[in-house]
Symmetry: D2
């Protein structure tokens, strides 16, 4: 497969989508990004790297960080995690309280905000210096020491954080948040504020394409069974309220963030990270989804 040619082609053919989306601007630090940025990096399990566009510019990974924290929680507690978070697609917006009320404080899945807050709460049980350890985990996966959490972004999120504070207090009223709400929110906003570039992201996710073993470091990050399970969660719930549509069009387990990043996995083959900060109405990279649609259409590659 001519990955390099493919990346360049889909990058080129999606240029017309520039200006069609809207950069997240609910906090100033995110709104300042150059909307025209676009890049794709593809890392294969046999060690090759293909790139096009802005692949070495760090951006805010936001909800993509929820895959790293879930992986850490699964390493710590395995399937115990599911006593406190569900595995079903949500069918509601990512920050809905209504569903949480019906389901008595147990969020639908670990990728909606409620679920990610519970995962963060779990990590506070196990990690003495949680943000450092999350960063360390990611740095090792990405093979890069320079990955940091952007404090300005984290603080801005905290200031605008009433919706997440509502979710956390609400779950705490059901006993499903155990640490102080302020501590949980602080760590949550900090890990969402981590910045990475496409190349680091593609490398960091490569273990999900290789049965849980990182092909570069050789470390077995997760068991093959948990790896399959994490991929299935990304497939059914990785793109907010657009997960079904995305599975239909693209068919790769993926996770998106409001910073405009999307990471996709083809098990056995590659991890792909792209960045395009202009979002569609569901909060996913507009040009990014078009690019992935073309990529899978031209290549015929998908899990289905």
């Amino acid at each position: 497969m001519d990955y390099q040619g493919l990346l360049e082609r889909v990058c080129h053919e999606t240029e017309a989508f520039r200006g069609k989306g809207k950069v997240a601007d609910y906090i100033p630090a995110l709104g300042r990004v150059d909307p025209g940025r676009f890049g794709i990096a593809l890392a294969t399990v046999d060690g090759s790297l293909y790139t096009t566009g802005d692949v070495d510019k760090p951006f805010s990974i936001q909800s993509i960080s929820k895959v790293f924290t879930l992986a850490l929680a699964l390493k710590q507690e395995g399937d115990q995690v599911w006593k406190r978070v569900g595995k079903e697609p949500s069918g509601h917006p990512f920050n809905s309280l209504a569903q949480l009320e019906v389901e008595q404080g147990v969020p639908r899945n670990p990728f909606i905000n409620g679920g990610a807050l519970v995962i963060t709460d779990i990590l506070l049980d196990h990690l003495p210096r949680p943000l450092e350890e999350i960063l360390g985990f990611i740095r090792e996966l990405a093979g890069s020491d320079s990955i940091i959490s952007d404090e300005e972004v984290a603080l801005s999120e905290e200031e605008k954080g009433d919706r997440n504070a509502a979710l956390a207090h609400f779950m705490k009223s059901f006993g499903n948040i155990r640490h102080g709400v302020d501590d949980v929110l602080k760590l949550y906003f900090s890990h969402c504020a981590i910045t990475m570039d496409c190349i680091s992201l593609a490398r960091a996710f490569l273990f999900l394409a290789d049965g849980g073993r990182h092909p570069v470091t050789g470390e077995q990050v997760l068991t093959s069974s948990l790896t399959k399970r994490l991929n299935s969660l990304m497939m059914t719930s990785g793109l907010y309220n657009e997960s079904g549509e995305f599975a239909y069009r693209v068919g790769l387990p993926s996770k998106s963030g409001v910073g405009g990043g999307i990471v996709s996995i083809l098990p056995g083959h590659f991890s792909l990270a792209l960045w395009g900060p202009e979002l569609n109405a569901c909060g996913n990279s507009l040009r990014g989804i078009e690019a992935l649609d073309l990529f899978t259409t031209y290549s015929g590659l998908s899990v289905f």
Copy 2:
């Protein structure tokens, strides 16, 4: 891969689940089935067939029929279908009206009852003798002339059909059902009442494992693109409100029915049909899910 050994092993190792579920008994004709039945048939794209247990006893395929009707609607209208049905997982029970109210009569996906009724309504536009043509389509796929719709079951469903009548009238009030509600319900209950055995079902689904081309007849049933899409819908929405859990445990695009059948696809490799009429609380074959979990665990096979 020793498929035959695998099938026998998972059949044997799930015997302890006999008696743990509950046969659907909302209509007498379904309730009369022998709860202890169990069988699995696996058909490979290269023409082999592996079986264990009750694989030649016909059972009511129920919601599995929704894959056939959706395939027919996609053949007729392609992606036009999605103007009237969504593609997102539901997050609500299969026959919920609440979500339909919020979403103004457009059902979440073609596998919940509301969506399947819209697909049935679409087929009434295109098929002059709709039930005969649906049966003809399935018979050709399965290579069997003896597949029929059980009239007693269809009539019983109709008598107990107030919930589905409510769904149909409700969507008609939004203009999303165009034919007479009675006609739509009659065809819907008739295609749900089709009876097939595991071997026929596995054969009939084989085109979904081979890019849309039926390996036996050689016919291109769907384009490879639509085939991928149908598989993705089964992955995100094929097992009612348990689709996420099932993707997590099994990781194969699948569709279940309250008759106790489940059909699963491993693209490029096989289709598998099983039958175990005792259901879990979500309305899926209890022993069937355990068997598929073991099958994928022992073999390491899944799309992820």
Copy 3:
């Protein structure tokens, strides 16, 4: 109290609201009405009648008929009725299915559509010739033999009746509709299609202002206890989703219909019927509500 002066004053002072609302036009027969019509009739318990405007033009009473059918059901079954219908305000639109789903087929109160359908179903148990007996009951209350049900309106409603058919089938699926859905709908649409003028309506409701005894005929229509209860239901649930706002502004137990009629009661004193076919966004007579607000403000009359 100078009722005649008051009626003329509020009629005059609300002329500016002509043209601000919208006549119900979901069926042609309703849409043909002259939007500028307006009239108020007030009947006192001591036998006086005060009128202004179009008080002798018959109009479609629509949901106002639900008070008559509820009164008949209470006469037949007393508080047994409440086993199948609630008494709480709805907080949802009058034809919502979502709430009905949460509450397992028991509608919130007898004035939303679901509740009125259950009341109609109850009447089918007790009245051999139901429409004739409902009409007879109203004619006797109003002292008028000419009150009829408009067949054209009833038939048009039936043709557009999918939403109500959905409600009826849905409740039947929970066992809370016992007669055939078609029979229930036919009677429901027929009693909603009854036409009356303001004078007849004011007279027919006078028993609710006099402890259940009709001051003209002398008949004890309902016990004083059930009369109080019917008035309380009109207070909490009589104006669809605007009942709280209306209680706040007006403070009289009242019932409205989409034909533009509103009937109000001041216990111990009078019943008042008005008609103004232009509706506000909640489906209540726009000018009518303004007139009642002024009436109670100028007079200081209300139950509070």
Copy 4:
């Protein structure tokens, strides 16, 4: 009317309901109350006082305080208040977040928790020393200097206050809470923790029975128009999710609290305060409701 005889009769005839309800015990300070307490005080607009039972034992007025804070807010802002709170009955539990989500942070009415928090937020705009001024307002109405807020109760509520914190943060995310969430909650819990006895409560509410003028002090507390409006809100929304049932059985504008208190008004005649700490499933005094039902049945008194 022999009020004294009536009070004693209904007190006596409801003794059988002792032990049928359950004292609120979500915080220890409330759970320590003697469940068998019961008392009723009735104050007439012409200055008489009738009492029976435990009428001079202070108890936690809880949600009854929401009438005082709403009255204060209406004095300050008049109908401006309704830009931020609705007037419709809720149809949902008093602390539901689901409805608040649908309605974009504007709570249904001022007596559900969300609405009362907004009213508290409004008071923070106007009252420099808010708790002192609320207490001063109540003391003057009750003619008693000894009314206080129980700090232990307020602190306990705060510790268990995650559900209310969730509501406040959620509304703040919509911009409908303007002060710091901690400040709003602190004042809210403090005014809910006010303790009063039946006699003080009956006296303090007497202005609502006399067109807004306090018959003892002679002060016009609210205009007659706002008084009518406050009474209508108590009628449609004063007893949580049981408001419709209570209007049906009792028919007096009333407000209850989880401390077991209920205050009722008969405009033009009296205010009545009762206390019985054992609650029914809706959180209202179980014996209290039975007593009010008998009281209105025996006397024939109600607004309807």
